[in-house]
Symmetry: C2
Subunit: 215 residues, 2 copies
């Protein structure tokens, strides 16, 4: 295990910014793209349930359709790749069972050994006061956090987007029929030389204010 | 800018796991911890608003108190560092103004230049159908995603936790009086040699299932 130095990690995170203008001639190569997909799959989640799916949109005509519901953000057509990060809707006991059975098979143990764990999850998600779709949506935010950091490490530009119309995306991409709902969108690729946002000072409140040591 | 290779990024993400048992004798050094704090501060957020604060808890007695409200997860006492990731509550127009003024000062431009941007944010957050606290909580999930990925790159172990009692944490740490609410907890440090979870097979659904190419 060869970890990365603190200075290099921070240099990469400083380098990233929400890219407003992508160079549409530059494409992410296969090895790099594959790592981005691996990173999405490896994202940690509540109980390890992975209540999500990541849709990669490549077709130009479809991307043009999405643009109409993306607050005019041309990144969805100009970027090399576009990922729609979607939550799995209405996660229920059957989904927990599927997860438990899958976990047991991966770990090479009888599913009975994980029965207690399954009950804990069902108790948590099945609480009548608990909104399972809010929970799933929040998990998708973990995925975008890991995605942004990963892309930065790889030197890939990205633009995390909340500004789009989820029901329209779901309709155009057919996500509703699959039981998923779009939560976030992320175009990825390489910044255009003309993107003036690339050189703007990064706006972050001071560390001394944002990180407070207690007591 | 020297980015990191796809294979090294994935190696680090494969290495990480939700650490159940920390070696309490191993402490994160200052340079590495400073990078972790920088990474938190650099997390992207909706409109760049950063509706959060990160509290670092070092005192052993306080950590013991937290343990009682942490579903018996001893990580909160054994880990080198504990971060409580909190959202800023009830973000309002005054907070937007503060952000706009701060942004203008960082970028060296008159605040008037950002007036339109401020109006867009106020319109978005002030929509009566919009739950500003849910929005802020979701942003905190981006921070934990970036934190998990960053820690993995640095070779630091971590355990993202939703399993704790936020009102009790807020009370013990005095967050409510500061206008913040705890959303997630993350002990960080180094895995104990006895933690059997370290060598367990990682449970992730297959990439072909989780990443779907459209159309």
């Amino acid at each position: 295990m060869t970890s990365i130095s603190p200075s290099q990690v921070i240099e990469q995170l400083q380098w990233r910014y929400a890219t407003k203008q992508f160079d549409s001639s530059k494409k992410i190569d296969d090895a790099t793209w594959s790592a981005i997909e691996d990173s999405l799959v490896l994202t940690p989640s509540s109980f390890g349930m992975q209540p999500w799916k990541f849709f990669v949109v490549t077709d130009d005509a479809v991307r043009q359709q999405l643009l109409e519901h993306s607050w005019k953000q041309a990144q969805v057509v100009d970027a090399s790749h576009v990922v729609v990060l979607a939550m799995k809707k209405d996660v229920d006991d059957a989904e927990v069972d599927r997860y438990i059975n899958y976990s047991a098979s991966v770990q090479g143990i009888p599913a009975e050994n994980l029965e207690g764990f399954g009950k804990v999850i069902k108790g948590f998600l099945g609480n009548p006061k608990f909104d399972v779709n809010e929970w799933a949506a929040k998990q998708v935010y973990i995925a975008i956090g890991q995605l942004m950091a990963t892309a930065a490490m790889l030197g890939v530009d990205a633009c995390p987007m909340e500004g789009f119309v989820p029901p329209k995306y779901d309709e155009i991409l057919g996500l509703d029929k699959l039981g998923y709902g779009s939560v976030l969108v992320c175009p990825l690729g390489y910044r255009h030389a003309d993107d003036k946002y690339a050189t703007q000072a990064k706006v972050r409140y001071p560390k001394a204010e944002m990180v407070q040591h207690l007591p």
